[in-house]
Amino acid sequence: MLAKLFSGDFPRSRVLAALLLVILFSLACAPFLTTGARMLNVAATICIFIVLAASYDLLLGYTGIVSFAHTMFYGIGAYGVGLALNSIAANWWAVFAGVIAALLLSLALALVIGLFSLRVKAIFFAMITLAVASAFAVLASQLSDFTGGEDGRSFTVPEILHPDFRLFDAEVFGRVIDGKLITYYLVFCSALVLFLLMLRIVNSPFGRVLQAIRENDFRAEALGYRTAIYRTIGNCLAALIATLAGALMTLWLRYVGPATFLSFEVMTDVLLIVVIGGMGTLYGAVIGATLLILAQNYLHALMGQTSAALSGIPWLSMLFHPDRWLLWLGVLFVLSVYFFPSGIVGRLRRSARPA
C-alpha cells in the first residue's frame, strides 16, 4: 500500500524520512499549529513551491533539460484562473474554465517549444525558452486592459474560498473553519496529489527512459528510444504541472500579477530550490522549498533579533542588521552548494548507504 503510494521510491535515509514526515505533518496541521495569517501564507507557499520545483526537477534533474520557461507556465496557470474569475464570475465554473484554458495554452506552447528546439543542443533550448518566457512576461504587462499590466488583477474567489465564509458556526480545535482555511486545504491536498503523481511518473518505465536520456542520450537512441519525443512529453508534463501550481497560487493569493508569477526571481527561486534540495530526486524539492521559503520569510526577523542581541558590539551588529538578510541568504546558498554538491537529499542518501 505504502509502496504503491510512493511508487516504490522511498526516502532511503532515516534522517530524510524524518525530515519529510515533520514537513508533511507541519503542512497538514499548519492552520491548527499557528494562528498567524503570515505563517499560513508561508505554509501555502511552501506547498505550491514544492510542486513547482518538483515539476522543474522533472526537466532539470530527471531529463537533463535546462529550461527558463517554467515560470511562464506557472504564470499561465495563474493568469488563466485569475482572469477567468475576474472577467466571468466568481464561481467554480470560471475556475474550471480558467484551468482548462491555461492547461491547453501551456500544452500548446510546451509542445511547440519542444518540437522546435528539443531536437537541437541543450543550450539552444535554454535560449529559446528564455526568449519565449521574456516575450510572455512583456506581453502580460503590456496588455494592461486585459491583464491589469504591472499592477495585475485582484479578484473575488468562489464563495466557499472567501475569507468571510464560515463552514460551521462553532470552532474546531480552536480554529474557525473559514474560507481561508478551506483554500489552504485545497492547496495542500492538490499539492500532495500532484507530488504523488509526479513520484509515479518518475518511477514509471517512462521516467526511467527520461533518466536514461539524461545519462546518455546516444545510448537511449541506440536502444531504440526516440529521445526527442520523450523529451517533448517530459517538457509538456512539467509545463502542465507548473500551470496547476500557478492556478493554486492565484487562488490562494486572490491576485495575479507579473512580479509574483512571471518575474525572473521566481525562476531563480525554483532553480535554487532544486539545486539545494538535490537534483534528480523529487524529495529534494520538498526539502529545498521548505528551506528557501522559510529562509526568505524568517531570516529577516531572525537577524533582527541577532542584531539586537549583539547591539553592544558595533561591527558585528552591523553585519547582522536585518537589511543584510539577502547577503546572508547568499552566503547560505554558496555554502550549501559547496558542501552539498549533490544537494541535501543526495548528501543524506549517500551517508545512509553503507559504504
Partner: protein, 245 residues
C-alpha cells in the same frame, strides 16, 4: 558463405571536415561472428556508428536484412534488430542494473515481466549481474560494466550485435569470461560483428574477418585463413601484433 545479413556498399562517412570512411564494402553473413580488425584510427568505430545511424553515410548504402537503413534514424535501426555495445559501454550509471536491463527490453512493459529464462541464461555467464541486481550501475567495476553493456544488448533476441572493443582495459580473467559469453552467444541465432584490437582474443572466436585501414577494406576472409598465415597477419596488422605472440 551463407546469405548476407548486413551489406555496406561503397560507404563514405565524413565527420566534420574529416573524411573517415572512404568507400567501405562489407558483407556480414548471417549467423556466426565476424571480426573487424584494424589499427587505431582506421575507422572501425566509425563503421559501427555509421551502421547504427549515429553518423550518416555521405555516400553508399547500408542494407540490413533486406532493408535500406542508410538514412534511417538510430531508434528505427535499433528497432529493426541491431544492438550496439559502444566502446565506452554507455551504461546508465545512476540507474540500477535491473533498470538498465529493463530499459533495453523493449517488448516488456513492467520490470517484473522480463523473460526470466533469458535472464537466467545471461546470469549463467555474467553471474556478477545477479549479485549487483539492485545496485546503481555506476558502482560496478569496469569488467562488470562491460558485462552489463553486453547483457543489455542481448536481453532480448536481436538479429545483429555490434560490439566495440569489449576487452579494452579489462583483466585477463574477465577477458576469459567474455570469450565464454561470446562462444555461448554464437550458439544462438544472433549474428555478431566484433571490433577488436586484441587478436588473441578474437582468434578463437571469429568465423570470418575483415581488416580495415585508413577508411578502406584491405582484406576479408575466414578467420582460419588469417590466423594460420603469419605473413598475412604481419602484412595486414603490422608490428603492433608482434609482442602478442
Amino acid at each position: 558463405m551463407s546469405e548476407a545479413l548486413l551489406t555496406l556498399k561503397g560507404v563514405h562517412t565524413h565527420i566534420g571536415q574529416y573524411h573517415i570512411l572512404q568507400g567501405i564494402d562489407l558483407v556480414v553473413p548471417k549467423n556466426g561472428l565476424m571480426v573487424l580488425l584494424g589499427r587505431n584510427g582506421a575507422g572501425k568505430t566509425t563503421t559501427l556508428r555509421t551502421i547504427m545511424g549515429l553518423w550518416h553515410a555521405s555516400q553508399g548504402t547500408v542494407n540490413f536484412a533486406g532493408r535500406d537503413i542508410t538514412h534511417s534514424a538510430t531508434p528505427d535501426i535499433s528497432c529493426a534488430g541491431i544492438a550496439y555495445v559502444p566502446e565506452n559501454m554507455g551504461i546508465f550509471a545512476d540507474l540500477t542494473v535491473r533498470e538498465n536491463l529493463f530499459l533495453a527490453a523493449r517488448n516488456v512493459k513492467k520490470a517484473g515481466e522480463m523473460d526470466t529464462a533469458r535472464l537466467e541464461w545471461i546470469f549463467g555467464f555474467f553471474p556478477a549481474l545477479r549479485k549487483f541486481w539492485g545496485q546503481p550501475a555506476g558502482t560496478l567495476s569496469g569488467g562488470q560494466k562491460q558485462m552489463l553493456a553486453i547483457a543489455r544488448a542481448i536481453v532480448e533476441p536481436r538479429k545483429l550485435l555490434l560490439v566495440d572493443e569489449p576487452t579494452k582495459g579489462l583483466a585477463p580473467a574477465i577477458v576469459r569470461s567474455l570469450i565464454d559469453a561470446f562462444l555461448e552467444l554464437k550458439t544462438t541465432e544472433t549474428t555478431i560483428l566484433l571490433v577488436e584490437q586484441n587478436f588473441n582474443f578474437v582468434k578463437s572466436l571469429g568465423d570470418s574477418v575483415a581488416v580495415i585501414d585508413d577508411g578502406r577494406m584491405v582484406h576479408t576472409g575466414t578467420m582460419a585463413e588469417l590466423s594460420g598465415d603469419m605473413d598475412l597477419q604481419q602484412k595486414l596488422l603490422g608490428l603492433a601484433l608482434e609482442h602478442q605472440y
